[in-house]
Structure formats: structure tokens, C-alpha cells
């Protein structure tokens, strides 16, 4: 789409009060020359430049039309390219979603969207798009609560499955929830049993996971110790819930392959020491952010 200069000016005139109030800028006289008054005030989107050379725009004229924004973005992109920017990011509020359609005409596509903001991106640098992708995995966590006093483990059967297989209670992690926290929460919500985190036992990666919206699934099984024993299971989610002999779970065909594997692991741990099967967790400070992270690996004998 190519629109003449006069129309750009009219866009600017209509929205000049908006541009003055917010963070929109006009191209400087140094570049366009002082002889042309119209070019002096040619409007541009204003954004923050990141350390990778990308520009991010978060403020938009609230009343601009799709067509007017298409033109404003054309002029801005031309400037960003000549300034050597390698990428452009637009954080478009849902109420201004028509601007996303306008951006698509210039090659922008959705990078991601959450709640009331869509983030669109366009690679401007040389060669192929090198922008980092958005999150690719959902994280599910199950908890194997082992009662060491009698060799029993807490298992459930899902209500909504065609095959009634025994499995460990679990579910999806909420955003910013640690693996162990998800296991303890899900076990309580599904079974009514309180427990505490002991170790990580296994990790499963599955792509094109049903229910993951085309993305992948990381499924982790933790070992938990019971803090209470009385079952009060969620009838919306579960058909059955029992304390089952680990030896029986390790042998039965009424279970999933991964549950069977982990039951065998747990049985070995029960008989030979859980240190044989555990990945222990330690919390460490992140290098730059001041935040902490959880690291899971084999404990060494000398630790």
C-alpha cells in the first residue's frame, strides 16, 4: 500500500494533539532538511530501543483508523530501517486490535498475546528472522505420595478417560508456581491428602500434546511424603482414589506406561533407599536478576 505525502500530513493534523500529548515524535529536521515545513512534522511512532537493536512501541493514538495507522507505520518502518533497527515490536491493547490488522499489511504477525494485549513482531535485520520465540511448553506435575510405613502410594483414576488407568494425581502448573508446589497443590485438590515435596523422579517431554493448543508438554513426577492420610477425593476430576501397594502398581496393566515405570523406580527406592532414584532440589540465586531458581540433579555422596 502506497499513500502520498499529503495524506501523511493529514493524518498528522488530525492527530496532532494526540501526538503532542503522548510519546509520538516527528522526524527531525536534520534528516529531512529545513526547507520543507510538511516534512518537518512528519509523524512517527515512538518506541524504546532495546540492547539487541529492536524498537518496541507501546503507545498508540487511540482514535486512529486502520488505514491511517497503516500509513503511520509505513513511515515509521522506513525510519527504523534507515536507523538500522533489527526488529519492531508492537504491544497492541485489545481495544485497539484494528491496529494489528494494519500492522499485518506490513508483514507483522502475532508473537504472542495475553489477557488484553497482543504483541506483534517484525524482523527488520539482515537474513532470516532471529527473534526469540514465545513459551513453547506447558508444564504438568504429578505427585507420587509414598507411605514408607506400609509401602503404599496414592493413586487416582480420572473421571473423563475411556480407559480407567491408575495414575498419580497431578495437573498443570500455574504461572510462576514451582514444580514441587504444583505437585503438593494438585495432590491436595484431587485427593484431600496433604503432603510435602521430597524429590523429582522423572521428566517427560511430549510434542503436539492434546490440550496444549498446538504446543508441547513437559510432565514431571515428584516424590512426596504424606502429612495426612484420609482420602477425600474430588468427584469432579476422579472416579476412584486409593492407597495402593507399590508392588501391585508396579505389576498391574491397569495403568499408564509412565506410571508403571515410576512405580518400579519407587519400589526400588523403597527397598534400596530413595537416594538411588531421587533428583534433589536446591535453590540458587540467579546471576543478574536477584531472583532465585530451583535446580534439580543427582545428589553427590560428598554433599
Amino acid at each position: 500500500m502506497s499513500v502520498g505525502f499529503c495524506r501523511v500530513s493529514s493524518v498528522f493534523c488530525r492527530f496532532s494533539s494526540v501526538f503532542r500529548q503522548s510519546r509520538f515524535i516527528s522526524a527531525g529536521s536534520a534528516r529531512f532538511g529545513s526547507g520543507c515545513q510538511e516534512r518537518l512534522c512528519r509523524p512517527l511512532l515512538s518506541g524504546d530501543v532495546d540492547r539487541f537493536g529492536g524498537v518496541t512501541v507501546r503507545d498508540f493514538p487511540p482514535d486512529i483508523s486502520e488505514d491511517e495507522f497503516t500509513e503511520l507505520l509505513r513511515v515509521s518502518l522506513s525510519r527504523w530501517r534507515s536507523d538500522g533497527r533489527v526488529a519492531a515490536w508492537l504491544h497492541v491493547p485489545i481495544a485497539l486490535s484494528r491496529l494489528s490488522a494494519a500492522a499485518a499489511r506490513h508483514g507483522f504477525s502475532f508473537h504472542h498475546a495475553r489477557r488484553d494485549v497482543a504483541v506483534l513482531s517484525l524482523w527488520l535485520g539482515p537474513g532470516e528472522d532471529r527473534l526469540p520465540a514465545f513459551a513453547t511448553h506447558q508444564v504438568g506435575v504429578a505427585g507420587a505420595v509414598v507411605d514408607e510405613s506400609n509401602g503404599k502410594v496414592l493413586v487416582v483414576q480420572d473421571r473423563n478417560k475411556t480407559k480407567n488407568a491408575w495414575k498419580f494425581p497431578g495437573g498443570l502448573s500455574d504461572l510462576e508456581e514451582n514444580i514441587g508446589e504444583t505437585a503438593v497443590r494438585e495432590v491436595f485438590e484431587e485427593t484431600g491428602v496433604r503432603s510435602q515435596f521430597r524429590s523429582l523422579l522423572s521428566i517427560r517431554q511430549q510434542h503436539r500434546h492434546p490440550g496444549a493448543f498446538g504446543m508441547s508438554d513437559m510432565y514431571l513426577i515428584c516424590r512426596l511424603s504424606p502429612l495426612s492420610y484420609r482420602i477425600d477425593f474430588c468427584t469432579q476430576e476422579c472416579l476412584r482414589c486409593e492407597w495402593l501397594d507399590l508392588a501391585q502398581l508396579a505389576k498391574t496393566s491397569d495403568t499408564t506406561p509412565i506410571t508403571s515405570r515410576v512405580a518400579k523406580l519407587l519400589l526400588y527406592g523403597l527397598e534400596n533407599g530413595f537416594h538411588n532414584i531421587d533428583l534433589t532440589m536446591e535453590q540458587l540465586p540467579a546471576v543478574y536478576s536477584g531472583l532465585f531458581y530451583q535446580l534439580y540433579h543427582r545428589r553427590l555422596p560428598e554433599e
Copy 2:
């Protein structure tokens, strides 16, 4: 927003040819009575009902305005609620993004967006929103390539970091890429060294990770065996690349805490057998989809 019945009719009349061609339906006479011709043809969005009782709309009248769609959606939501639907999903093409703004007026928000489609959702059922969230984690993988013949490991220093710390080469998984594949690919891209996957060593979970767009990061370190030894490192990404003594990496302060931990693990494995530190991988069939997944856990002595 409340608009009278006549306006609904006019929306329908303007788009009647669209509705006939595509999958839009009108509310049945059984519900609205046969005495009212206008009500007979009251337009509704048409969608697929899933097994959880949600309705998903993928087809929209291409020329409908924001205001007209707001009204069409109002009538459709009323019908879906009376039909007991628990959720509504709209898959809005980027060129029709103005419809997302209209949907937001009815409480819809972005569930996720990728490339040229935004998916909006609205919980219609009783109680709080129980819709599954979109992916929450990016997955990064590093590869520790250990040369068992001389106890050296392949390490790099990032070009773009303020502290020049030794670390294992690695990077983000592409969508549908397995953990081991990412490790081998990233090691080759960064260092020019070819390698093969041996085991998983550690998992780190970090929330509010810088560069993860507000989401979380799962960082996995794998043990790899070298298939070639000559270093030809990527100068865009790396400042240095070396085969370093494992014992030296385990002691140095010029590294990150996680690299130091894993170096100590690897040194122990080198001296006492890698079976002490490895999580081995096996591929298993998924229960329902016919696909396969990768499962990582401690190998048992009897296996």
C-alpha cells in the same frame, strides 16, 4: 451495550449472503416461535462444541464492522449461555483483528496468539474460570560435551554478557524439538563440534526469566559425547570457546553456579561412572495419540 432487535435484523440482512455461504446459523423457530418472521432469522455465530462443553468459532463474516460484530456476538453469547456452554473460544484472523476489540466489550480476552491468528476466550460456566492456560515455559538446553579420554569438557563464554563466565553451549528449543536434539544442534552451531546425546543431568526452573516475555524458563543440561573435536566457534555468539579440564571448571570462580554444580557432577561421573549422575532417556508410545514421548529418569540396576 444493548441494541434493539431491529438493528440485529439489519446486521443479518447486510450479511445474509455471507451467512448462507459459511457456517453461520440462525436461531431455530422452535425457540423463537413461528409468529415472528424477524426472530426466525436472527443470526448467530456458528462453532464447534468440544467434549468439555465449550464452543469454538473459526469463521467470521469478513466485512462485518466492530459494532455489528459486537451485536452478533451478544446474541450468540445469549444463546450459548442458555444452551449451557461453559466457554467460548474465538479464533480471529489477524486481518479481522477489529473483531477482537468487539469481543473484549463482552469480556473476552486473549488466551494466546501465534503468527496470523489470535485466540480469545470467555468462561461462561458457573464459578471461576477453569480454562486451561497456554504454554508457560520456554525450554533452553545446554550440552556438556565430555571427552572421556582426557577429562576435558567443551565450554564457551558469551559475547553479550558483562561477566565472562564459562558455560556450556546451548540455547532455546525450537517448537517440537526434543531436548537432546536441541543440545546437539546448539553445540554444533556455537562451537562447530559434532556430538551425540548420552543423558540428562539437571533441570532448572526459573520464573520471570529475563527474555522470556514474562513467562518461565526450564533449562536442562545434557551430557554429550564428542563425535568431532575441532573447534570452529560462532563469533557472533561467543567470545571464547575451549576444551577445559573438568577439574578446573569444577574449581574456577569464572563460571555460573549451575555450570559449577554440573561440572562437579561430571567430574564425579568421570571418576566413578556416569551411571551415578545420569538420567537416561527412553521413548514410549503415548496412550491415545499414537505419538511418542521421551521419558527421563534414573536407570535401575536390573534394567
